[in-house]
Structure formats: C-alpha cells, structure tokens
Amino acid sequence: MENKTHISSYESHGRVLISLLLLTMLSVLVTWMEFGVFTIAVALTVASVKAFIVLTWFMHLKFESNFIRWMVAGVFVLFTLVLIITFIDYFFR
C-alpha cells in the first residue's frame, strides 16, 4: 500500500472552484434555452463534467491507482447504461 500523501496546491483548488462556479452558472443558463429532446442530455453533460472535476481533484482520484480509477469508471458506465435503458421507454413510448 502506498503511504504517500498527495496534497493539491491552493492554486489547483482555486481553479476547480472557479470551474465549478462557472459550470453551475451554465447549468442555470441552459434552463432558459430550448433543446427539445436533448434537454436532459445537456443538463446531464454539464453535471457530469462537474462530477468529473470533483472526483478528479477534490476526491484525489488523479492520485489513485488505475484499479480504483477503473472502478469509478465502471460506476459511470453503469449509470450511463441505466439512463439509456430508462430512455428506451421514454423515446419509444
């Protein structure tokens, strides 16, 4: 097991904070735009980018082993599959 500690710099935390704030603003802005059937896809894309940033820097996934990264990636694959399957109902109803 690794015993190294990884402490991100204040600068990188600051960049993440600004990115999250900008993306939150984007999340609100897109609610005023009409995307039709892609409304949910757009909202989820923005949310996914935010989740990616949080996981990578704030939750230190960037510094973890590939095994842990693949496990997290697996969760995203699962989440995507669940969404796709749910929308087989909504798109073809």
């Binding site: 969760v75 669940v82 087989i88 909504y90 073809f92």
Partner: protein, 538 residues
C-alpha cells in the same frame, strides 16, 4: 462433552473491553457482537412482521370482514411488507452472517471500519423504530404497500412520510455496510488469499455490497422526492402536479429489483458453504459460482422493467426487459447445477443445515420458474397483480433468503455460541416449517392463475378453498418458526458444548475456537491452498 462443561478459552462473549454489561454490547465495535446485535434486532422484527402476516392470512380465511376492517388490512400488509423487506430481508444475511463471518473467513481480525460498522447498526435501529412507529402515529398506518407507488403515496392521508423516511434511513445503513464489506475484502484478506482462494460466501457478499453501494442511493433520493412532492407540492411523479408516475416506478425498481439480488446472493453464498461441508467434497465449479454471482449482480441490475410490463412502458422496453429477465435465469441455473453436482457422489450427512439448504434449492427453483412465467410478456399480462405474484416472490424471498438464513443459523450456531442445539427437534421444526410454507404459498399460485387479485381485502366465493388452505398453512408455518426459535433460544445456554469443528468444515471459521476469541486469530493465517480442500484431496 457433557452439557454442563464450558469451553476453556475467553471468547468474544466473555471478553470485557472498555465497557461492561449491556454497554459492552451497545458500544462494541467487535464485528461478531455487532453481528449478534443485528441478529437479535432482525429476529425481533421478523417475529413482529410474521405475526402481522398471520393476521393478514386469518383475515383472508373467509370472504368478507373476519377480524379487521379494510383500512386496517391495508395498513397491515403495508407494514408487513416494509418490515420484512427493508428491515429483515435486505439487511438480514449480510448484516448478521456477513458481519460475523466475513472477517473470520478471510482471515481478518475485524472489518475495515469497525466504528462505521456500529454506526450502521444504530442507523438501522433508528430506521426500524421509525418504520414500526409509522403504524401507530397520527394519520394511521401507511396503506400504500411497501412499493409506495405514486400518485397514491403522494396523496394518501396516512403516515406515508414516516414510512418513507424510515426506508430512506435504512438505506444509509445498507450503503455503509456495503462500503465496509468492499473495503474489508479488498484490504484485509489474509496473506496468500488471492481473489480465487477466497471462500464463496465472502464472494457473494462482495457482489452484494456493490449492489448495495450503487443501487441504494437511487431509491433513497426517489423516496425523498416523494416526500418533497407531498410536502412542497413539487411535481415529480404526480400527474396532477405535472409529474410522471412511471418515472417513480422506474426509479423505485432500479433499486428494488437489484434489492432482490441483495437478498438472494448472500443466501446463495450461505448454501454454497453448506453443500461442500455436508457432502465432504469440494464445491463443484468454484469459478463458475464466482462468475455467476457477479453475472447475477450485473445483469440483475438491468431487469427492473419487468415489474412494469402492464403500466404502458414502450414496446421496446418491454421486449428488452423480458429478454434480460430470461438471461438472468442462466447464472442462477448454473448455481443450482453446481450445488447439485457438489452433493453428487459426496458423503452426505443429512443434518439440519443441509435440510434447509436442499429445501432452499427446491423452493428457489419454484420461485425461479414462476419468475420466468412472470417475465414472459404474454403471461405477465394475465398474472400481473394476482396472488400468483405474491406466491412467486414469497417462494423467492422467504423460500430463498428465509430458508438460507435458517440454514445459516443452524450451520454457524455452534461457532457463534459454542453450544449445540437439539438436532432432532431442529429437524422436526424444519419439517413443520417446510410443510407450512408450501401449504401457505402454493395455493396462491392456483387462485392467482384463476384471477384472485393481490392486496384485496375481500374475494369471491370461488377463491375460498384456496385461501382457507393457505391460512391453515400459515398457522403450521408459524408453529414451525416458534419451534425453531425455541430450540435455538433454549439450547443457547443449555446445549452441549460445541467442538471447534462439529461439521468437519474446512473454511477458516472452523479452524478457530467455538465461540471465537475477541480477535478471532492469535496469528493471522497464511493461505496456501484453495478454500474447499477436504482430507482425501489435501
């Protein structure tokens, strides 16, 4: 050994830590004591819910009101379902036997996060108390059924919020236990215990833990959305508020179908430990069992829509979910094949744990095949919401998880308490229980096919015979349960002292004292052989 002798070592039962007496239990972070805390609390709630079930059956012994009115009946079957599903069946095997035996079976001294483990139990108790309180507080017992379907659950004047909050809290306990088990298995396996040298019960817990962690948050947030809809009038699910009721069903079953696998996978794990021990033969197809556990967990995640075939979901959805439902039967059947092959040619010792394990296969097969009947689109339309479904899921959940739990408690009881129960009485109790179970649930298949709806307080005269037989079965079943409980409780202190390995098992729990010491092992064992090597092979 005589009855009055006592084991000579200091076990976890006598160990005095920082706290004494009852506090030594309530504040203990020992995985074994926490396992027993779960056992006693789950057993208590099981008896409560079983009695509610008996009352439901007595009400249905004849058409028309018998011992209660319709609203009380609705409340009873709802609370029966909530307690059984969320408090007994979902946590049951993992929380009790997983907590007690997972660390021992992988050669560890405890789980990875012992304090989190104790916290999980407290959260569990909080949720359980709230669930039972919902029966009595303010607006009356919730009457939505355990599935909380909207729009009714967002408009019913009964204590729905209480019950929803209870289920939400119970979900947290499940998630924390799941995380604990995943980390424990990843980090605390004994030296030399590679993934494919790990016994199969821990494997089943591992597959289950992933479902707990990944699926439970979905139902948690869904139940919160129903609360938000009721309290804040936000239109998520109620069409009157602009919501979509089918969205609730999707979200609910995205969790609640995998929850069936949270129940059944550890059950399969338990019986997979029992068959080799009582056949004195290595488990047949170790790799196939591991892979089928993972396959069940993975594919089982994507079959939730088979609960919604008649709701108006799209044709392609129905096709897809029906297809996957049939696919998930394959790994389940592989396991059955492996269990039977494990017994084939073995030196079979037909003791109580094996009786329960064999009846698990029998009942699970009936539940599984009737599941395929329900998974087929055409027959589902006819059978949906009939008592056929009630019989099917009781065969899976009670016949599967319940009988595996009884198998597990009879298998590991000598290890947990260092005492033997009365085997003859245990066998008789098994016979009564097994008979009562089938007399109770099998007639429900028949009247279900004939058109008896589920959850109905009253019924037509043509269903009377089926209901009458079923109620007789319920009474036999309850007698069997109390016989079993009497045996286990009475011989807890009076039974003969158990040797460390009464069944000649080969996994690690049988290599240590009965009951185990506080830290399980004096020295962490080094694993050099596969887990199921019996004498003639080793």
């Amino acid at each position: 050994m005589s009855k009055n002798e006592k084991y000579s070592h200091e076990s976890y039962l006598e160990y005095q830590g920082k706290y004494k007496g009852i506090w030594g239990w309530l504040f203990s972070t020992d995985h074994k004591r926490i396992g027993l805390l779960y056992l006693y609390s789950i057993a208590f709630f099981f008896v409560v819910a079983a009695i509610l079930g008996l009352l439901i059956r007595i009400e249905l012994i004849a058409p028309g009101p018998t011992i209660m009115d319709a609203q009380t009946y609705n409340g009873l079957f709802t609370v029966h379902g909530i307690i059984m599903i969320f408090i007994v069946v979902i946590p049951g095997l993992g929380a009790v036997f997983g907590n007690f035996f997972l660390p021992i079976m992988i050669g560890a001294k405890d789980v990875a996060f012992p304090r989190l483990n104790l916290l999980s139990w407290y959260i569990f108790i909080l949720g359980a108390i709230l669930a039972v309180a919902s029966q009595f507080a303010g607006g009356g017992a919730p009457d939505t059924g355990w599935t909380f379907y909207v729009p009714y659950s967002s408009t019913s004047s009964t204590n729905v919020i209480f019950a929803l909050t209870a289920a939400f809290i119970l979900g947290f306990s499940s998630i924390l236990t799941g995380i604990n088990f995943i980390v424990t298995i990843h980090r605390l396996r004994a030296p030399g215990m590679g993934w494919f040298k790990m016994p199969l019960f821990p494997w089943s817990l591992y597959a289950t833990a992933w479902i707990q962690v990944l699926a439970t948050p979905i139902v948690g947030i869904t139940l919160l959305m129903v609360i938000a809809e009721r309290v804040l009038q936000i239109g998520f699910f109620d069409p009157a508020l602009g919501g979509d009721p089918l969205l609730f069903q999707h979200l609910f079953w995205i969790y609640s179908h995998p929850a069936v696998y949270i129940m059944i996978l550890p059950a399969m794990g338990v019986v997979t430990e029992i068959f080799p021990t009582f056949s004195q033969k290595p488990v047949f197809g170790y790799g196939a069992i591991v892979i089928s556990s993972i396959a069940i967990a993975a594919v089982g995640y994507f079959v939730w829509g088979h609960h919604m075939f008649t709701t108006g979901i799209s044709y392609w959805s129905r096709w897809f979910f029906s297809f996957l439902t049939f696919i998930v039967a394959i790994p389940s059947a592989i396991k059955v094949f492996n269990w039977i092959s494990t017994m084939y040619g073995g030196s079979i010792d037909l003791k109580t744990p094996l009786l329960y394990a064999i009846s698990f296969i029998f009942l699970f097969m009936i539940g599984g095949f009737t599941g395929l009947t329900l998974g087929a689109l055409a027959t589902n339309v006819h059978l949906h919401d009939t008592s056929f479904v009630v019989a099917h899921f009781h065969y899976i959940i009670f016949g599967g998880m319940g009988f595996a739990f009884f198998a597990g408690i009879h298998y590991w009881y000598p290890k947990m308490y260092g005492r033997m129960y009365n085997i003859k009485l245990a066998n008789i109790a098994w016979g009564v229980l097994f008979t009562g179970f089938n007399v109770l649930y099998f007639p429900l298949f028949i009247i279900g096919i004939q058109g008896m709806p589920r959850r109905y307080f009253d019924y037509l005269e043509q269903f009377h015979t089926g209901h009458f037989i079923s109620t007789i079965g319920a009474i036999i079943l309850i007698i069997g349960i109390f016989m079993m409980l009497f045996n286990l409780i009475y011989y807890r202190h009076r039974g003969a002292v158990a040797p460390s390995n009464p069944w000649k098992g080969v996994t690690l729990e049988w290599q240590i004292e009965s009951p185990p010491t506080h830290e399980n092992f004096e020295e962490i064992p080094e694993i050099k052989t596969p887990p199921y090597l019996f004498k003639k092979e080793s």
